[in-house]
Structure formats: structure tokens, C-alpha cells
């Protein structure tokens, strides 16, 4: 495995920047630049880089879709949120519509924010492409077909012309796929969700989203520490604060940055990436959570430092 690329990082539903938000970012940038003269594009780029990500960029708004670049010819994705649409566009731009590709897609679960992108995944409509959809849910295929049936969508699932295959993965059992060893783990979420551990060539990536940690059972905690053990990267649902996750949003099926840090520290993980951002959070709010999480790691560190990042649409992490 070479790198991870994020195409969608939001939970629940897609969100978009508004004109007012863009205007506010521009005002902040221009106000800070007052009096400065930029002699070149390079000088402008350097200035933008110093503005801070909430001003110079955006965490984005597509729902969950994460690509793992294995180094091999076949594509590997986690989930089919709305972020799979720009992924598909990029794949077609790269290869052309006439060059068949294979896509391995691992599904955490079948709630709508994780499946909504399939009807807009253009490669699925092109004959010759091969789409293998993996998951541990018994109703995986039914859920994907249903969302493209009348009256929910005008284009029926049967119009997808790629060779589409559904593969059931037994939880806890290692499976060989696309040059990787893939293991799933049951997580707490309404209707169940599954985390994925991908191992290849000495590198390990864990995708653990839509997973609530009740904190009442030490055996449950130990199970996740084992699942995360020595991973190079853990992509972790940190949708709510700890206080919210165990009070007013208990049983909503999500977790927090605090639990992410603790589990990763106990498991000896190298990097924690906060994921599945609350749609109501703007860029400043996510940036504050990232700063808080880095500070938490710093003040609770007992061994090697844990790198902490917050996923944004378009982000790439080298492994």
C-alpha cells in the first residue's frame, strides 16, 4: 500500500460551502494581506499557505469514500458515499471510458450516506468494468439495489452495465483481496457496521467509521486495541465530542476524538485521522477539534508520539 486518498469525509449527508462562507474566507485573506505586494504566483502561494487551512481551504462536504492506493493496477475503495462521484470522474479522466478497470469496494454498512454515491459512479455504467463490492452485511446487495428502484431514483440498478459482483466477508477471518489481507470487525452501530483492517507489504491501514464505543466493557475496548494494533494509519469516526457521544447522542452510533486518541495510543498506532465529520461543523470547528486532539495527544502521551490529522476531501496520506 502506498497512500490513502480521501474523496468524501463527512457523515450523515453531504454539505457544501455557501457563497457567504467563501466571501468570509476571502475577506479574512484580503484583510490579512493589507498593504502587501506579491511579486509572483509563488509569493501568493506562500502567503496562502500561511493563512491556515480554514481560510485557505476547506474540509469539504462529500460523504464517506476513501481510496487506498495499493501500487497495483486495481482500485480499492472504502464506502460509496457521494465522494465516489469525483473518484469515478478522476478514474475515467485517467484511463478513458474505453479502458476496463477493476474496482474493489469495501462497505462499512448500508446507511444512506455510505451508499448514496453508487448511482453517480460512472464506471459502474460502463461495460467491461468490473466492480466487486465486499461487505459483511447480509443485505448489502438488497440495500444498493433498493436505492435505485422506483420511486427513489429514476435510473434502475439494472442499468449498471459493469460486471458487478457482491462478495460476503466473514468477520474476523482474513481474506486475500487485491494483494492485501483484509479483515473485518463488527462495530456498534444501528443495523451493524464493520471496520476493516488492510495489511500489505508491512503496512497496515484500519478504516473504522460509524462505530460507537460504549466504554462500559473492557473486553470491547481490548478488541479494538487488538484490531488497531501497530497500524500505520487508523481512519476513525470522531463525529461528536466525548460528552455528547456518551450523553445526548448515546446510541447514535458514533465516537469521539478522545476515544480515538486513547485507542490508538493503547494500540501503538502511528497516525490517527479524524473522519466522518459532523455536517453541522464548519471548517473552523473541525480545525478546533483537530487542535484539541493534537493537544490531548501531547498531554497524555506516554510512549511514541501519535500523529493526528483531520481528513478533508482531496487529502492524501503517504504510507
Amino acid at each position: 500500500m502506498k497512500r490513502v486518498r480521501f474523496w468524501g469525509t463527512r457523515g450523515s449527508l453531504p454539505v457544501a460551502l455557501t457563497a457567504a462562507t467563501v466571501h468570509r474566507k476571502l475577506m479574512t485573506a484580503l484583510r490579512a494581506a493589507s498593504g502587501r505586494v506579491f511579486a509572483s504566483d509563488a509569493a501568493i502561494e506562500a502567503y496562502i499557505d500561511g493563512l491556515g487551512f480554514p481560510v485557505s481551504g476547506t474540509y469539504g462536504g462529500h460523504t464517506s469514500c476513501v481510496e487506498i492506493e495499493t501500487g497495483g493496477p486495481e482500485y480499492v475503495l472504502c464506502d460509496l458515499g457521494s465522494g465516489v462521484r469525483p473518484f469515478g470522474q478522476a478514474a475515467i479522466a485517467r484511463h478513458g471510458p474505453g479502458s476496463p478497470q477493476t474496482y474493489h469496494i469495501f462497505m462499512s454498512h448500508v446507511h444512506w450516506d455510505h451508499i448514496m454515491g453508487l448511482p453517480f459512479f460512472t464506471p459502474a455504467y460502463i461495460p467491461g468494468n468490473r466492480v466487486r463490492i465486499y461487505g459483511s452485511h447480509s443485505r448489502l446487495e438488497a440495500a444498493l439495489r433498493r436505492q435505485q428502484n422506483e420511486p427513489s431514483f429514476p435510473v434502475d440498478f439494472s442499468v449498471l452495465r459493469a460486471e458487478i459482483e457482491f462478495v460476503h466477508l466473514k468477520p474476523g477471518k482474513p481474506h486475500a483481496v487485491a494483494g492485501m489481507t483484509v479483515t473485518t470487525k463488527l462495530q456498534q452501530h444501528t443495523g451493524d457496521s464493520y471496520g476493516y483492517r488492510f495489511e500489505s507489504n508491512g503496512r497496515t491501514v484500519v478504516y473504522s467509521t460509524d462505530s460507537e464505543h460504549k466504554l462500559a466493557d473492557p473486553l470491547e475496548t481490548d478488541g479494538f486495541v487488538k484490531f488497531f494494533r501497530n497500524a500505520d494509519l487508523v481512519i476513525f469516526d470522531a463525529m461528536y465530542s466525548l460528552a455528547d457521544a456518551i450523553s445526548i447522542k448515546a446510541d447514535w452510533g458514533h465516537s469521539s476524538n478522545v476515544v480515538g486518541v486513547e485507542l490508538c495510543q493503547m494500540a501503538g498506532v502511528r497516525q490517527l485521522c479524524l473522519f466522518h465529520h459532523e455536517p453541522a461543523s464548519d471548517d473552523e470547528a473541525i480545525e478546533r477539534v483537530l487542535a484539541d486532539t493534537r493537544r490531548l495527544e501531547e498531554i497524555t502521551r506516554t510512549g511514541e508520539p501519535l500523529l493526528v490529522s483531520a481528513a478533508y476531501d482531496g487529502m492524501e496520506i503517504e504510507l
Binding site: 465530542s241 466525548l242 460528552a243 478522545v258 486513547e262 497524555t300
Partner: protein, 123 residues
Amino acid sequence: MEISSRQYVDVVVAAPVGRIDHYSAGQLEAALIPLLEHSGINKGVVLDFAGVEYISSVGLRVLMVAAKQMRTREAKIAVASLQPVVAEIFAISRFDRVLDVYPSVRNALEKLSAPALEAFNAA
């Protein structure tokens, strides 16, 4: 983890010492259970955290559950004298917005019970 406690009229002040982590949070929970059920403690429990170096999510959950239980009796859990690291953990976890946190035990007793404060000052 050591936990001492003392009753002042209708409030108990309990003082855990050490780390409240995934392994020791159960001890805090066990120590709180009889206090939460004690009929003579009808204003609440003040947790003196002056000796607590660290608290994990499991420990914070114990506090949340205890606070919820006290609310059913119209009583309170208050936390006082947080060490700087623990105060940051409370802020980062947003627990400072859901639990009553005070700079000192005296401040907490002042809010909870005048008789308890008087007894504390006299002790």
C-alpha cells in the same frame, strides 16, 4: 487508586488519588455507588480531584453516569480542584459543559449546601 471520603452534613467530599484510567475507573465507580445511594447525602457529592493526575474516557463516563443518577434524587455531582492536565482533558472532551466544575472544594460546597460548608470550615 486510593479514595478517601468524608461527610459534611448532607454532602460527601470524596478524594480519589492517582490515575483514573481504563483499569482503575471501576474502583472509582465502586466507591461512588454507596455514596449515590446513601439517603443522608441529599445535596450531593463533591469529588476533590486535587490528587488526580489523569482521567480517561472511561473515568469520565463514570462521572456522567453518577451525575445522571444523582439528578434523579435532585442532588448533584461536582468536581473540584482539577490539576491543569485534567482541566484540559475536561475542556477537550467538553465535560466542562456537562459537569459542575469548581476551583476548590470550598467553592463547590458554597454552591451545594451552606450547612455542609459550615461543617467543612469548622473541621
